[in-house]
Symmetry: C2
Subunit: 185 residues, 2 copies
DNA sequence: GTCTATAAAGTGATAGAC
DNA sequence: GTCTATCACTTTATAGAC
Protein backbone atom coordinates (compact mmCIF):
# COMPACT_ATOMS: atom_id res chain seq x y z
CA UNK A 1 0.00 0.00 0.00
CA UNK A 2 0.95 3.62 -0.38
CA UNK A 3 2.47 4.81 2.86
CA UNK A 4 0.36 7.37 4.55
CA UNK A 5 2.21 10.53 5.51
CA UNK A 6 -0.57 13.10 5.96
CA UNK A 7 0.00 15.12 9.08
CA UNK A 8 -3.48 14.55 10.50
CA UNK A 9 -7.06 14.08 9.34
CA UNK A 10 -8.03 17.37 7.68
CA UNK A 11 -5.18 19.04 5.77
CA UNK A 12 -4.05 16.08 3.76
CA UNK A 13 -0.43 16.39 2.67
CA UNK A 14 1.32 19.72 2.47
CA UNK A 15 3.26 18.59 -0.59
CA UNK A 16 3.45 15.98 -3.27
CA UNK A 17 0.09 14.36 -3.68
CA UNK A 18 1.39 13.87 -7.19
CA UNK A 19 4.05 11.43 -6.07
CA UNK A 20 1.51 9.50 -4.04
CA UNK A 21 -0.80 9.22 -7.01
CA UNK A 22 2.03 7.84 -9.11
CA UNK A 23 2.82 5.25 -6.44
CA UNK A 24 -0.83 4.28 -6.18
CA UNK A 25 -1.14 4.01 -9.96
CA UNK A 26 1.99 1.88 -10.09
CA UNK A 27 0.55 -0.59 -7.62
CA UNK A 28 -2.79 -0.71 -9.37
CA UNK A 29 -1.34 -1.11 -12.89
CA UNK A 30 0.86 -3.82 -11.46
CA UNK A 31 -2.05 -5.83 -10.19
CA UNK A 32 -4.53 -5.32 -13.00
CA UNK A 33 -2.70 -3.86 -15.97
CA UNK A 34 -3.46 -0.48 -17.48
CA UNK A 35 -6.85 -0.96 -19.05
CA UNK A 36 -8.45 -2.83 -16.19
CA UNK A 37 -7.35 -0.19 -13.67
CA UNK A 38 -9.92 2.56 -13.21
CA UNK A 39 -9.12 6.07 -12.06
CA UNK A 40 -11.42 5.41 -9.12
CA UNK A 41 -9.36 2.40 -8.03
CA UNK A 42 -6.19 4.45 -8.20
CA UNK A 43 -7.77 7.44 -6.47
CA UNK A 44 -9.01 5.25 -3.62
CA UNK A 45 -5.48 3.90 -3.10
CA UNK A 46 -4.18 7.48 -2.88
CA UNK A 47 -7.03 8.48 -0.54
CA UNK A 48 -8.61 11.05 -2.83
CA UNK A 49 -11.42 11.05 -5.38
CA UNK A 50 -10.94 10.51 -9.07
CA UNK A 51 -11.35 14.14 -10.12
CA UNK A 52 -8.58 14.81 -7.61
CA UNK A 53 -6.34 12.54 -9.68
CA UNK A 54 -7.36 14.29 -12.89
CA UNK A 55 -6.36 17.63 -11.41
CA UNK A 56 -2.76 16.41 -11.31
CA UNK A 57 -2.81 14.38 -14.54
CA UNK A 58 -4.98 15.56 -17.44
CA UNK A 59 -5.79 12.03 -18.64
CA UNK A 60 -5.36 8.45 -17.54
CA UNK A 61 -2.80 8.04 -20.30
CA UNK A 62 -0.74 10.93 -18.91
CA UNK A 63 -0.72 9.14 -15.57
CA UNK A 64 0.57 5.98 -17.21
CA UNK A 65 3.35 7.94 -18.87
CA UNK A 66 4.26 9.53 -15.54
CA UNK A 67 4.56 6.06 -14.00
CA UNK A 68 6.84 4.88 -16.80
CA UNK A 69 8.83 8.06 -16.58
CA UNK A 70 9.43 7.67 -12.86
CA UNK A 71 10.77 4.24 -13.51
CA UNK A 72 13.10 5.63 -16.16
CA UNK A 73 14.46 8.16 -13.69
CA UNK A 74 14.92 5.59 -10.91
CA UNK A 75 16.81 3.23 -13.22
CA UNK A 76 19.02 5.92 -14.74
CA UNK A 77 21.97 5.66 -12.36
CA UNK A 78 22.44 1.94 -12.96
CA UNK A 79 22.01 2.17 -16.73
CA UNK A 80 25.13 1.85 -18.90
CA UNK A 81 26.62 5.22 -19.70
CA UNK A 82 26.46 6.18 -23.36
CA UNK A 83 29.88 5.70 -24.88
CA UNK A 84 30.84 2.86 -22.59
CA UNK A 85 32.39 0.14 -24.70
CA UNK A 86 32.31 -3.59 -25.23
CA UNK A 87 33.16 -5.64 -22.14
CA UNK A 88 32.51 -2.70 -19.81
CA UNK A 89 29.06 -2.07 -21.30
CA UNK A 90 28.11 -5.75 -20.94
CA UNK A 91 29.30 -5.68 -17.35
CA UNK A 92 27.21 -2.66 -16.45
CA UNK A 93 24.16 -4.33 -17.95
CA UNK A 94 24.67 -7.20 -15.58
CA UNK A 95 24.77 -4.64 -12.77
CA UNK A 96 21.52 -3.08 -13.99
CA UNK A 97 19.88 -6.50 -14.03
CA UNK A 98 21.00 -7.11 -10.46
CA UNK A 99 19.53 -3.78 -9.47
CA UNK A 100 16.20 -4.76 -11.01
CA UNK A 101 16.02 -7.68 -8.64
CA UNK A 102 15.48 -5.25 -5.78
CA UNK A 103 12.56 -3.59 -7.57
CA UNK A 104 9.94 -6.28 -7.59
CA UNK A 105 6.98 -3.96 -8.10
CA UNK A 106 8.50 -2.25 -11.13
CA UNK A 107 9.51 -5.48 -12.79
CA UNK A 108 6.02 -6.80 -12.29
CA UNK A 109 4.53 -3.64 -13.74
CA UNK A 110 6.74 -3.94 -16.78
CA UNK A 111 5.80 -7.54 -17.31
CA UNK A 112 2.09 -6.83 -17.20
CA UNK A 113 2.27 -3.65 -19.24
CA UNK A 114 4.59 -4.90 -21.94
CA UNK A 115 2.37 -7.90 -22.53
CA UNK A 116 -0.72 -5.71 -22.59
CA UNK A 117 1.04 -3.21 -24.88
CA UNK A 118 1.45 -5.90 -27.53
CA UNK A 119 -1.52 -4.38 -29.35
CA UNK A 120 -0.55 -1.43 -31.57
CA UNK A 121 -3.39 0.71 -30.20
CA UNK A 122 -2.21 0.50 -26.59
CA UNK A 123 -1.02 3.85 -25.20
CA UNK A 124 2.30 2.35 -24.10
CA UNK A 125 2.93 0.46 -27.34
CA UNK A 126 5.34 2.99 -28.81
CA UNK A 127 7.09 3.34 -25.47
CA UNK A 128 7.91 -0.35 -25.29
CA UNK A 129 8.75 -0.74 -28.96
CA UNK A 130 11.24 2.11 -28.87
CA UNK A 131 12.64 0.91 -25.60
CA UNK A 132 13.30 -2.58 -26.84
CA UNK A 133 14.86 -1.34 -30.07
CA UNK A 134 17.19 0.95 -28.19
CA UNK A 135 18.09 -1.78 -25.73
CA UNK A 136 18.74 -4.25 -28.51
CA UNK A 137 20.88 -1.75 -30.42
CA UNK A 138 22.95 -1.04 -27.30
CA UNK A 139 23.53 -4.68 -26.48
CA UNK A 140 24.36 -5.47 -30.08
CA UNK A 141 26.91 -2.68 -30.22
CA UNK A 142 28.43 -3.73 -26.92
CA UNK A 143 28.88 -7.29 -28.21
CA UNK A 144 30.33 -6.05 -31.49
CA UNK A 145 32.89 -3.84 -29.79
CA UNK A 146 33.74 -6.63 -27.36
CA UNK A 147 34.31 -9.06 -30.22
CA UNK A 148 36.50 -6.63 -32.15
CA UNK A 149 38.56 -6.14 -29.01
CA UNK A 150 39.05 -9.90 -28.79
CA UNK A 151 37.05 -10.21 -25.57
CA UNK A 152 34.61 -12.86 -26.84
CA UNK A 153 34.94 -16.59 -27.30
CA UNK A 154 35.42 -17.35 -30.98
CA UNK A 155 32.04 -18.52 -32.21
CA UNK A 156 29.87 -15.96 -30.39
CA UNK A 157 27.98 -14.04 -33.08
CA UNK A 158 26.81 -10.62 -31.76
CA UNK A 159 23.65 -10.62 -33.84
CA UNK A 160 22.62 -13.93 -32.25
CA UNK A 161 24.00 -13.33 -28.80
CA UNK A 162 22.33 -9.95 -28.21
CA UNK A 163 18.68 -11.10 -28.21
CA UNK A 164 19.74 -14.21 -26.27
CA UNK A 165 21.25 -12.13 -23.50
CA UNK A 166 18.16 -9.96 -23.30
CA UNK A 167 15.91 -13.00 -23.21
CA UNK A 168 17.93 -14.67 -20.45
CA UNK A 169 17.82 -11.67 -18.18
CA UNK A 170 14.11 -11.17 -18.73
CA UNK A 171 13.23 -14.75 -17.92
CA UNK A 172 15.45 -15.14 -14.94
CA UNK A 173 13.87 -12.16 -13.27
CA UNK A 174 10.27 -12.45 -14.34
CA UNK A 175 9.85 -16.03 -13.33
CA UNK A 176 11.33 -15.63 -9.88
CA UNK A 177 9.26 -12.54 -9.22
CA UNK A 178 5.83 -12.91 -10.77
CA UNK A 179 3.04 -14.36 -8.70
CA UNK A 180 2.09 -16.45 -11.71
CA UNK A 181 5.09 -17.24 -13.89
CA UNK A 182 4.73 -16.54 -17.60
CA UNK A 183 3.67 -19.73 -19.27
CA UNK A 184 4.12 -20.67 -22.91
CA UNK A 185 2.73 -24.19 -22.84
CA UNK B 1 -9.14 -12.86 -39.61
CA UNK B 2 -11.73 -15.56 -39.10
CA UNK B 3 -12.25 -17.34 -42.39
CA UNK B 4 -15.68 -16.84 -43.81
CA UNK B 5 -17.46 -20.00 -44.79
CA UNK B 6 -21.13 -18.94 -44.96
CA UNK B 7 -22.79 -20.37 -48.02
CA UNK B 8 -24.21 -17.06 -49.22
CA UNK B 9 -25.63 -13.82 -47.87
CA UNK B 10 -28.81 -14.81 -46.06
CA UNK B 11 -28.56 -18.18 -44.24
CA UNK B 12 -25.26 -17.60 -42.50
CA UNK B 13 -23.52 -20.89 -41.68
CA UNK B 14 -25.33 -24.18 -41.56
CA UNK B 15 -23.14 -25.32 -38.67
CA UNK B 16 -20.63 -24.28 -36.06
CA UNK B 17 -20.98 -20.62 -35.38
CA UNK B 18 -19.62 -21.64 -32.02
CA UNK B 19 -16.22 -22.53 -33.43
CA UNK B 20 -16.07 -19.24 -35.29
CA UNK B 21 -16.85 -17.29 -32.15
CA UNK B 22 -14.03 -19.06 -30.33
CA UNK B 23 -11.60 -18.19 -33.13
CA UNK B 24 -12.73 -14.58 -33.12
CA UNK B 25 -12.40 -14.39 -29.33
CA UNK B 26 -8.95 -15.92 -29.51
CA UNK B 27 -7.78 -13.23 -31.93
CA UNK B 28 -9.32 -10.45 -29.90
CA UNK B 29 -7.97 -11.66 -26.54
CA UNK B 30 -4.60 -11.99 -28.25
CA UNK B 31 -4.54 -8.37 -29.32
CA UNK B 32 -6.08 -6.71 -26.30
CA UNK B 33 -6.14 -9.19 -23.46
CA UNK B 34 -9.31 -10.42 -21.79
CA UNK B 35 -10.60 -7.41 -19.92
CA UNK B 36 -10.08 -4.89 -22.71
CA UNK B 37 -11.88 -7.09 -25.23
CA UNK B 38 -15.60 -6.38 -25.40
CA UNK B 39 -18.22 -8.89 -26.47
CA UNK B 40 -19.13 -6.44 -29.23
CA UNK B 41 -15.57 -6.47 -30.61
CA UNK B 42 -15.58 -10.26 -30.64
CA UNK B 43 -19.05 -10.46 -32.14
CA UNK B 44 -18.08 -8.07 -34.96
CA UNK B 45 -15.12 -10.29 -35.84
CA UNK B 46 -17.46 -13.29 -36.04
CA UNK B 47 -20.00 -11.31 -38.09
CA UNK B 48 -22.81 -11.46 -35.57
CA UNK B 49 -24.11 -9.22 -32.79
CA UNK B 50 -23.16 -9.53 -29.18
CA UNK B 51 -26.37 -11.19 -27.99
CA UNK B 52 -25.63 -13.73 -30.72
CA UNK B 53 -22.40 -14.53 -28.91
CA UNK B 54 -24.20 -14.78 -25.59
CA UNK B 55 -26.60 -17.33 -27.04
CA UNK B 56 -23.67 -19.72 -27.48
CA UNK B 57 -21.75 -18.78 -24.33
CA UNK B 58 -23.70 -17.73 -21.23
CA UNK B 59 -21.06 -15.23 -20.07
CA UNK B 60 -17.88 -13.60 -21.30
CA UNK B 61 -15.99 -15.69 -18.77
CA UNK B 62 -17.43 -18.90 -20.23
CA UNK B 63 -16.15 -17.78 -23.62
CA UNK B 64 -12.66 -17.28 -22.19
CA UNK B 65 -12.74 -20.76 -20.72
CA UNK B 66 -13.82 -22.19 -24.07
CA UNK B 67 -10.84 -20.50 -25.72
CA UNK B 68 -8.43 -21.94 -23.15
CA UNK B 69 -10.08 -25.33 -23.45
CA UNK B 70 -9.70 -25.43 -27.21
CA UNK B 71 -6.03 -24.77 -26.76
CA UNK B 72 -5.78 -27.62 -24.28
CA UNK B 73 -7.36 -29.99 -26.80
CA UNK B 74 -5.11 -28.87 -29.66
CA UNK B 75 -1.96 -29.31 -27.59
CA UNK B 76 -2.94 -32.69 -26.18
CA UNK B 77 -1.29 -34.92 -28.81
CA UNK B 78 2.14 -33.32 -28.39
CA UNK B 79 2.06 -33.32 -24.59
CA UNK B 80 4.21 -35.86 -22.74
CA UNK B 81 2.28 -39.01 -21.95
CA UNK B 82 1.63 -39.57 -18.27
CA UNK B 83 3.96 -42.26 -17.01
CA UNK B 84 6.74 -41.44 -19.42
CA UNK B 85 10.01 -41.38 -17.51
CA UNK B 86 13.13 -39.29 -17.06
CA UNK B 87 15.10 -38.75 -20.25
CA UNK B 88 12.14 -39.69 -22.44
CA UNK B 89 9.85 -37.21 -20.68
CA UNK B 90 12.40 -34.42 -21.07
CA UNK B 91 12.75 -35.28 -24.75
CA UNK B 92 9.03 -35.11 -25.39
CA UNK B 93 8.89 -31.74 -23.69
CA UNK B 94 11.41 -30.48 -26.19
CA UNK B 95 9.12 -31.81 -28.91
CA UNK B 96 6.14 -30.00 -27.41
CA UNK B 97 8.13 -26.77 -27.33
CA UNK B 98 8.99 -27.19 -31.00
CA UNK B 99 5.32 -27.70 -31.77
CA UNK B 100 4.46 -24.46 -30.00
CA UNK B 101 6.62 -22.60 -32.49
CA UNK B 102 4.05 -23.34 -35.16
CA UNK B 103 1.26 -21.85 -33.05
CA UNK B 104 2.15 -18.21 -32.92
CA UNK B 105 -1.34 -16.99 -32.13
CA UNK B 106 -1.81 -19.32 -29.18
CA UNK B 107 1.56 -18.50 -27.69
CA UNK B 108 0.75 -14.82 -27.97
CA UNK B 109 -2.60 -15.35 -26.32
CA UNK B 110 -0.96 -17.19 -23.46
CA UNK B 111 1.62 -14.47 -23.00
CA UNK B 112 -1.00 -11.75 -22.79
CA UNK B 113 -3.43 -13.71 -20.65
CA UNK B 114 -0.94 -15.11 -18.19
CA UNK B 115 0.46 -11.64 -17.56
CA UNK B 116 -3.03 -10.25 -17.14
CA UNK B 117 -4.01 -13.19 -14.92
CA UNK B 118 -1.33 -12.25 -12.40
CA UNK B 119 -4.04 -10.65 -10.31
CA UNK B 120 -5.86 -13.15 -8.07
CA UNK B 121 -9.27 -11.82 -9.12
CA UNK B 122 -8.76 -12.51 -12.83
CA UNK B 123 -11.06 -15.24 -14.20
CA UNK B 124 -8.11 -17.16 -15.64
CA UNK B 125 -5.94 -16.85 -12.52
CA UNK B 126 -6.69 -20.32 -11.17
CA UNK B 127 -6.29 -21.81 -14.63
CA UNK B 128 -2.76 -20.50 -14.99
CA UNK B 129 -1.72 -21.18 -11.43
CA UNK B 130 -2.78 -24.81 -11.62
CA UNK B 131 -1.25 -25.17 -15.04
CA UNK B 132 2.13 -23.92 -13.95
CA UNK B 133 2.15 -26.04 -10.83
CA UNK B 134 1.34 -29.15 -12.81
CA UNK B 135 3.97 -28.32 -15.41
CA UNK B 136 6.59 -27.67 -12.74
CA UNK B 137 5.78 -30.90 -10.94
CA UNK B 138 6.10 -32.87 -14.18
CA UNK B 139 9.41 -31.35 -15.17
CA UNK B 140 10.76 -31.81 -11.66
CA UNK B 141 9.79 -35.47 -11.64
CA UNK B 142 11.29 -36.00 -15.09
CA UNK B 143 14.59 -34.52 -13.92
CA UNK B 144 14.55 -36.57 -10.74
CA UNK B 145 13.96 -39.84 -12.57
CA UNK B 146 16.60 -38.92 -15.15
CA UNK B 147 19.14 -38.23 -12.41
CA UNK B 148 18.40 -41.48 -10.58
CA UNK B 149 18.91 -43.32 -13.87
CA UNK B 150 22.31 -41.67 -14.23
CA UNK B 151 21.29 -39.65 -17.29
CA UNK B 152 22.27 -36.26 -15.92
CA UNK B 153 25.62 -34.53 -15.61
CA UNK B 154 26.77 -34.69 -12.00
CA UNK B 155 26.01 -31.29 -10.54
CA UNK B 156 22.58 -30.78 -12.10
CA UNK B 157 20.15 -30.35 -9.24
CA UNK B 158 16.55 -31.17 -10.34
CA UNK B 159 14.99 -28.60 -8.03
CA UNK B 160 17.11 -25.87 -9.63
CA UNK B 161 17.09 -27.21 -13.18
CA UNK B 162 13.31 -27.58 -13.51
CA UNK B 163 12.31 -23.91 -13.26
CA UNK B 164 15.36 -23.03 -15.38
CA UNK B 165 14.25 -25.31 -18.18
CA UNK B 166 10.73 -23.88 -18.07
CA UNK B 167 12.08 -20.35 -18.09
CA UNK B 168 14.38 -21.01 -21.04
CA UNK B 169 11.65 -22.46 -23.20
CA UNK B 170 9.28 -19.64 -22.35
CA UNK B 171 11.77 -16.94 -23.20
CA UNK B 172 13.09 -18.46 -26.35
CA UNK B 173 9.63 -18.68 -27.79
CA UNK B 174 8.00 -15.58 -26.44
CA UNK B 175 10.70 -13.23 -27.56
CA UNK B 176 10.94 -14.53 -31.08
CA UNK B 177 7.16 -14.48 -31.47
CA UNK B 178 5.74 -11.47 -29.69
CA UNK B 179 5.24 -8.26 -31.61
CA UNK B 180 6.72 -6.45 -28.61
CA UNK B 181 9.18 -8.64 -26.71
CA UNK B 182 8.72 -8.87 -22.97
CA UNK B 183 10.96 -6.32 -21.36
CA UNK B 184 12.32 -6.28 -17.84
CA UNK B 185 14.54 -3.23 -17.97
C1' DG C 1 -6.28 21.50 -4.39
C1' DT C 2 -10.01 18.69 -3.61
C1' DC C 3 -14.76 18.00 -3.55
C1' DT C 4 -19.87 16.80 -5.44
C1' DA C 5 -22.49 16.24 -9.35
C1' DT C 6 -23.00 15.01 -13.85
C1' DA C 7 -22.26 14.23 -18.76
C1' DA C 8 -21.26 11.04 -22.65
C1' DA C 9 -19.91 6.74 -23.97
C1' DG C 10 -19.14 1.92 -23.36
C1' DT C 11 -19.84 -2.53 -20.69
C1' DG C 12 -22.04 -7.39 -19.81
C1' DA C 13 -26.32 -9.20 -19.78
C1' DT C 14 -31.59 -9.87 -20.56
C1' DA C 15 -36.31 -9.71 -22.97
C1' DG C 16 -38.80 -10.59 -26.63
C1' DA C 17 -39.68 -10.36 -31.80
C1' DC C 18 -38.84 -13.09 -35.93
C1' DG D 1 -30.27 -19.08 -33.96
C1' DT D 2 -29.92 -14.37 -34.51
C1' DC D 3 -31.84 -9.97 -34.23
C1' DT D 4 -33.32 -5.10 -32.00
C1' DA D 5 -34.01 -2.73 -27.95
C1' DT D 6 -33.00 -1.90 -23.51
C1' DC D 7 -31.32 -2.33 -18.53
C1' DA D 8 -28.21 -1.39 -14.89
C1' DC D 9 -23.74 -0.40 -14.28
C1' DT D 10 -19.01 1.45 -14.98
C1' DT D 11 -15.84 4.16 -17.43
C1' DT D 12 -13.12 8.68 -18.50
C1' DA D 13 -13.62 13.28 -18.23
C1' DT D 14 -15.74 18.01 -17.21
C1' DA D 15 -18.19 21.91 -14.51
C1' DG D 16 -18.52 24.40 -10.74
C1' DA D 17 -18.79 24.88 -5.56
C1' DC D 18 -15.78 25.48 -1.56
Amino acid sequence: MVEDDRLDGRQRRGRDTRAHIISAAMEQFCESGYRASSLRDIAARADITHPGVLYHFPTKEALLMAVLQRRDEQGRETRPVVGEMGRAALASMAAAAAHNETQRAMVELYAVLSAEATGPDHPAHAYFTERYERLHANVLEAYTVARDAGDLVDDVEPRVAAPQLIARIITAHLNTQLRVPLDAF
